[in-house]
């Protein structure tokens, strides 16, 4: 009886083991490309182990290329210029590259493998991206589903970033999560305080990283993240500034506004539209009213789309996109900073372009 089950299981197990051994041996011999030379920007020469992707290899050498999807060829953040030594374009890269990029040898670093001596070009900012080890300093509730986290840096001790940029936070293996994942969160503090990083994170149902942050972290825990990344920062112009955000999208906007000098605010006259559903989704409102008092020229406009009757809301109601039109009309000389989900962003961009704002002056940070 037992023999009827055990023997066949052993035989199949044996077959599977034999095949696994064959694959492992083959991998050791076939995938051994030896040591090759990687040249970056025509100056830095690194001796690297061949066979891995550019993204993975650079990570091992402490050079971090932005990546949101972790090598799955879906985000398109990891573009680098492949100067020489690489194979032809892969079908997985083609959908994410424009024709000009392809003509310019731009490739996805998560897809191209280093099999021989190669040369690439990456923007200088990428060298400033580092991996940080920090300790949780404090966790505060902003709303029923948004928390603010303050991480005090341990190693390196300080971070140099532009207000509005984001970091990639590493949620380690925990509970049912069997591999570590990286998720992007914007920093909401001011760059001057360079020994700590503040994040605003909304708990996403079934979200791997947000669940880890909300439910498994407490003061004193160690965290790891890479950064800074992103092109969402203040443009140094004299133009009128329109800011729109929803939910945790307030983070980069707060970072930008709080880092501006009083003169800058007086010249640019920023107006910040914050969209939420009902009063319980609003947070840091008192801080913004105080900021308004301290900085004439700045205006804070919270907008609720579905206020509860108990809220006794006497402020603006409706979609934040409509309310923008109520406060500003002529936008051909202004610039906009948007941060929120795709729905809010697309609606805003549509409304702003209708109000004559040129698309290249609309800066946004999509979730």
């Amino acid at each position: 009886m037992i023999t009827a089950f055990v023997m066949p299981a052993l035989y199949i197990g044996g077959l599977a083991t034999l095949l696994a051994v064959i694959i492992l041996v083959a991998e050791r011999y076939l995938m051994d490309y030896g040591e090759v030379e990687l040249t970056i920007n025509d100056e830095k020469k690194l001796k690297v182990k061949g066979g891995n992707t550019v993204l993975g290899t650079l990570k091992e050498h402490r050079i971090f290329i932005p990546s949101a999807c972790g090598g799955r060829a879906t985000c398109g953040y990891c573009k680098v210029k492949a100067v020489s030594g690489f194979a032809e374009l892969l079908p997985t890269e083609a959908p994410l590259l424009t024709e000009e990029e392809i003509a310019d040898s731009v490739r996805l670093s998560c897809q191209i493998k280093i099999k021989n001596d190669v040369a690439i070009e990456i923007p200088e900012e990428f060298f400033r991206i580092k991996e940080f080890h920090a300790v949780v300093d404090s966790i505060a509730d902003l709303t029923y589903d948004i928390k603010q986290f303050c991480f005090r840096l341990v190693e390196p001790e300080s971070i140099a970033y532009k207000a509005g940029q984001y970091i990639q936070f590493q949620a380690p293996e925990y509970g049912e999560n069997t591999a570590s994942v990286y998720r992007a969160y914007s920093m909401c503090g001011i760059p001057k305080r360079n020994d700590c990083v503040d994040l605003m994170v909304r708990l996403v149902p079934e979200g791997i990283a947000t669940t880890y942050l909300h439910k498994h972290l407490s003061a004193g825990d160690e965290v790891t993240f890479t950064g800074p990344y992103g092109d969402f920062y203040l443009r140094d112009t004299d133009r009128r500034m329109i800011c729109v955000a929803g939910g945790s999208g307030m983070a980069p906007i707060r970072s930008i506004l709080l880092s501006m000098s009083k003169e800058q605010i007086a010249i640019k006259e920023p107006i910040f539209f914050f969209g939420a559903r009902s009063k319980r989704d609003l947070f840091l409102v008192d801080e913004w009213w105080q900021f308004e008092k301290d900085n004439p020229g700045f205006k804070f406009v919270p907008v609720l789309s579905q206020p509860d009757p108990d809220d006794n809301w006497d402020g603006d109601t409706g979609s934040v996109v409509e309310i923008v039109g109520k406060y500003v009309q002529e936008l051909s000389e202004a610039e906009a900073y948007l941060c929120g989900g795709p729905g809010l962003l697309n609606a805003c961009i549509g409304a702003l372009t209708k109000m004559k704002m040129p698309e290249e002056r609309i800066y946004y940070d999509k979730f």
């Binding site: 066949p8 035989y11 199949i12 077959l15 599977a16 095949l19 696994a20 064959i22 694959i23 083959a26 991998e27 076939l30 995938m31 194979a87 032809e88 374009l89 892969l90 079908p91 997985t92 493998k113």
Partner: protein, 197 residues
């Protein structure tokens, strides 16, 4: 033991007993990858190659490992394990040996492990009691037949995207399935030629 000659089996498995159009195996990747001719060709080549080789390898696994140990009933598991391992090996070899080939069909190889037509071909060869040459002919023919079917559909879809007006409700999988059914009916016309079922 089936007494049909290997060449007959080869031709029959392309036309009259087409593994996709007559037996409806391997439909998922067929439907999703038939959008473009170039990728359809890459996938078709990969399927044909893997099908031929795994039929050969699984023939040995069945007759020299499962049968002597009276474990024929484990053919599903054994075949799938061998197919998965084989595909892994092929991917490594192709990646090492030829960048062009890897760019053409490398990314499809993991997709093929779960292609039911591959497992189906191996199981058919057991059911029909083919010997080694017949199995290889069958595998090769089925693979080529699958490639023929996906290339035909890819070409049709390309023409359709330029000239046909499809009602919105049927756009995508709807019209593709209907077209596949019509092609299958057409292939049914070959059935009198030579039978292997």
């Amino acid at each position: 033991m089936d007494s049909t000659g290997p060449f007959v089996i080869f031709f029959a498995s392309i036309f009259t007993g087409n593994i996709l159009l007559s037996n409806f195996l391997g439909m998922c990747s067929y439907l999703s990858v038939s959008r473009e001719l170039k990728t359809a060709w890459g996938l078709g080549l990969a399927v044909a190659f893997v099908m031929t080789c795994t039929c050969a390898v699984n023939y040995f696994v069945y007759h020299n490992f499962l049968v002597p140990l009276n474990l024929e009933y484990l053919q599903f598991i054994a075949f799938i394990i061998v197919i998965a391992a084989f595909v892994q090996l092929v991917e490594m070899v192709v990646d090492r040996v030829s960048d062009r080939l890897y760019a053409a069909l490398g990314i499809f190889l993991p997709l093929i492990t779960v292609n039911c037509a591959i497992l189906g071909a191996c199981l058919f060869m057991v059911i029909r009691k083919y010997d080694f040459l017949q199995s290889v002919a069958f595998g090769m023919g089925s693979g080529i037949g699958w490639t023929l079917a996906i290339m035909a559909l890819a070409g049709l879809r390309r023409k359709m995207s330029k000239r046909s007006r499809v009602i919105p409700a049927l756009e995508g999988p709807g019209i593709v399935l209907i077209v596949t059914g019509i092609i299958a009916l057409g292939f049914l016309g070959f059935s009198g030629m030579v039978g292997i079922n």
